[in-house]
C-alpha cells in the first residue's frame, strides 16, 4: 500500500488555473503540445485494440469483443444485450454506483479528515489510535467483505460501508501526514500572535495540511471505485461492478467492455472534480506554482 502515501504534494493539477480567463487558458492549451499528444496516445490505444481484435484476430485476442462491435453496441438504440447509451438500464447502474461512491466518499472525507487532524494535533489521540490503525489498514478490502455483509443490514449498506472503508484509511493517513508536515515555526508564530486553539486549528492546521489532504482525497477516490466494484461483484443487485460481472457471466462481452469504459470515465471525472475543489481552496499554492 506504499503508493497510497503521498510523498510530495506538488501534483495538485493544473497550476495556472486561477485568475486567467478560460478562453485565454484554452488558447494557451491549444497552442501547447499537450492536448495533441494526449489525443495521439488515446488513438494509438484504440487502434491497437482494433488491429489486435478486429483485424488480426490472433491468439486469445480472438475471444475478445471487437472495437467496432463494442462501439456499435454502445450507440445502438436497440442494443443486442440491453445496455447502451439509449437504455435506462445503463443509467440505472451508473446512478447506483455513483450514488454509493458519493455517499461513501463524503463520509470518508468528513470522518477521515477529522480523525487525521486529531491524530496529528493531539499526542494522546495519536498514541491511542495509530497502532490500531496500522493494524487494520493493511487488511485488504476484499477480506472485509464477509464481515461487512454480516454486520450491515440489507444489500446497499455493506457495499457503501466497504467503499467507505477503503477511502477512510487513505484519508486519515494523508491528513495525519499533512498535519505533521507543517513547519513548527507556524505554530510558534500563531502562539506569539495570541491565537486561540480554535484559531490555530482553522488558520494553521487545516490550511497547512490541505495540500496533503487533497493528494489523499484523490487517491481515496480511486480506492472508492476499486472497492465499490469489488463489493458490487460480491453482493450487489445493481451497479456497474455488478453489471460487469453479470455481462461476463452471460457472455455479453460487448456490454462488459462498455461498463469498463464507463468506470474509467467516471473515475477520471470524479478525480478531476476533487482536483478542481482542491485548486479552488488552495489558490495560494496555485499562484505560486504558476509563478505569477
Amino acid at each position: 500500500m506504499a503508493q497510497l502515501i503521498a510523498t510530495a504534494p506538488t501534483a495538485i493539477g493544473d497550476a495556472g488555473a486561477v485568475n486567467v480567463p478560460w478562453n485565454v487558458r484554452l488558447r494557451r492549451l491549444l497552442r501547447s503540445r499537450r492536448p495533441y499528444l494526449a489525443l495521439l496516445g488515446i488513438i494509438a490505444f484504440f487502434l491497437a485494440w482494433y488491429l489486435l481484435v478486429d483485424v488480426l484476430r490472433f491468439w486469445r485476442f480472438r475471444e475478445l469483443p471487437g472495437f467496432v462491435a463494442s462501439v456499435r453496441e454502445w450507440i445502438n438504440p436497440n442494443p443486442v444485450y440491453g445496455v447502451s447509451l439509449f437504455t435506462a438500464e445503463y443509467y440505472n447502474h451508473m446512478w447506483a454506483s455513483v450514488y454509493r461512491v458519493f455517499v461513501a466518499f463524503l463520509c470518508a472525507t468528513g470522518l477521515g479528515i477529522s480523525i487525521g487532524i486529531l491524530m496529528g494535533w493531539r499526542r494522546i489521540f495519536y498514541g491511542l489510535t495509530f497502532p490500531i490503525l496500522e493494524l487494520l489498514r493493511p487488511i485488504p478490502i476484499l477480506a472485509w467483505i464477509p464481515l461487512a455483509i454480516i454486520l450491515l443490514p440489507g444489500r446497499e449498506l455493506p457495499i457503501i460501508g466497504l467503499t467507505f472503508l477503503a477511502a477512510f484509511f487513505v484519508t486519515i493517513l494523508n491528513t495525519l501526514l499533512g498535519v505533521k508536515s507543517i513547519d513548527p515555526v507556524y505554530f510558534r508564530a500563531a502562539r506569539s500572535l495570541g491565537f486561540s486553539q480554535t484559531a490555530i486549528l482553522f488558520h494553521v492546521i487545516v490550511p497547512g495540511a490541505l495540500p496533503y489532504i487533497f493528494v489523499g482525497l484523490q487517491i481515496a477516490m480511486g480506492a472508492c471505485w476499486f472497492s465499490l466494484v469489488a463489493s458490487e461483484i460480491v453482493s450487489g443487485q445493481a451497479g456497474l461492478g455488478y453489471k460487469v460481472w453479470e455481462a461476463y457471466y452471460y457472455v455479453q462481452f460487448e456490454t462488459m467492455v462498455i461498463i469498463m469504459a464507463t468506470l474509467g470515465f467516471l473515475g477520471y471525472v470524479s478525480s478531476a472534480l476533487v482536483r478542481m475543489v482542491g485548486n479552488r481552496l488552495m489558490r495560494w499554492r496555485a499562484r505560486i506554482l504558476a509563478g505569477v
Partner: protein
C-alpha cells in the same frame, strides 16, 4: 501608533543559564548571562554559532525554559526555572526563516494578531496595517500571498506584522540572514525608520558585525561553550542613521572594536570545533 506603549520594556536578564542534557553529557548553552536592555533600547547580540543567542531568545519568547537564573520585564519576573512562560504578543518574534502563513494574504497575516487578541476591529486593524505597510514602501500588495513576494518584501511584512501587536519587546533572530547585501541594506534602513517612528525595546540577533554596529544602541558580544557575555560595546551614533554613516571614521572605530572582540572568540570556537571533529 494608535495604541500606546509608551511605558515599559526594560528587560533584565539575570544569571541566566541553560544546560541541555539530552544523553547525560551536559551541554552548557548559557552560563551566568547577565545584562539589561533599557526600555526602547536597540540591543544587538552577536557571537559565534552555538553561543546560546537563540536559546536566550527562545527563553524570552516562551518557547523554551531556562535551567538557571531569571528574566524580568519591567521588574516583574517573566521566567525562571520554576516558572513556565507562555508565548505572548507582548514579546513578538521575527523568525530567522520567516513565518508568514503562506496560505493567507498579506493583509490577513498582518492584521491577524490584533484581531485574534480582540484588541482591534478588522476595520481598524486593516487601516493601521495599510498605513504601516506604506511606511516600509509596500503599497497595494495587501491581497497577494507571501509566496508571491520577494525576500526583502517578506521581511518587511513580517516586521510590520510584529509591530501591529504593539509589543513591549521585539525579538529578531537573524532576520536578514537570507537576504542579498543590497536588499539587506534597504530592509535595515526600513527597520530603523520604523524604530525611530515608534521606538521599542529590540533584541536583535545577528552574525553580521557591520549590521550590529549600524543598527544598535548597544552591542552585546557573547562567547561560545559556555555562552557568556564577553563584552558590551556602546554605539553612540546619532539617530536617525542611514548607510552613509558606514564610512565615517567613528563608525569604523566602533565596528572594529566589535570585530576584534569577536574575532578571538570565533577562532576559539572554530578550533574547538576542529578538535571535536578530529
Amino acid at each position: 501608533m494608535s495604541t500606546d506603549s509608551s511605558n515599559g520594556g526594560t528587560l533584565s536578564i539575570r544569571h541566566a543559564g541553560k544546560i541541555y542534557d539530552p544523553d547525560g553529557s551536559n551541554v552548557v548553552a548559557l552560563d551566568d548571562v547577565t545584562f539589561e536592555i533599557k526600555a526602547k533600547e536597540f540591543c544587538v547580540i552577536v557571537g559565534p554559532s552555538g553561543c546560546g543567542k537563540t536559546t536566550l531568545l527562545n527563553a524570552i519568547a516562551g518557547f523554551d525554559q531556562l535551567t538557571a537564573g531569571q528574566i524580568l520585564l519591567d521588574g516583574e519576573l517573566l521566567t525562571s526555572p520554576g516558572k513556565r512562560l507562555l508565548p505572548g504578543a507582548d514579546r513578538m518574534v521575527v523568525f530567522q526563516q520567516g513565518a508568514l502563513f503562506p496560505w493567507k494574504t498579506v493583509l490577513w497575516n498582518v492584521t491577524c494578531g490584533p484581531i485574534q487578541q480582540g484588541r482591534m476591529s478588522r476595520r481598524e486593524a486593516e487601516r493601521h496595517a495599510t498605513h504601516l505597510l506604506a511606511r516600509v514602501g509596500l503599497t497595494s500588495i495587501e491581497n497577494q500571498y507571501p509566496g508571491e513576494l520577494s525576500g526583502g518584501m517578506k521581511r518587511r511584512v513580517e516586521i510590520v506584522r510584529a509591530l501591529m501587536n504593539d509589543p513591549k519587546i521585539l525579538l529578531l533572530d537573524e532576520p536578514f540572514r537570507a537576504l542579498d547585501a543590497l536588499t539587506k541594506s534597504v530592509v535595515q534602513e526600513y527597520l530603523l525608520e520604523l524604530y525611530d517612528l515608534t521606538p521599542k525595546t529590540v533584541f536583535f540577533i545577528t552574525h553580521d558585525i557591520e549590521e550590529a554596529a549600524f543598527l544598535a544602541d548597544r552591542v552585546v558580544i557573547m562567547t561560545t561553550r559556555p555562552g557568556r557575555v564577553m563584552k558590551i560595546v556602546n554605539v553612540d551614533i546619532e539617530r536617525p542613521r542611514n548607510h552613509q554613516v558606514l564610512t565615517t571614521p567613528h563608525f569604523l572605530r566602533i565596528e572594529n572594536e566589535v570585530r576584534e572582540a569577536i574575532h578571538d572568540e570565533a577562532r576559539k570556537a572554530f578550533e574547538a570545533g576542529e578538535r571535536e571533529l578530529a
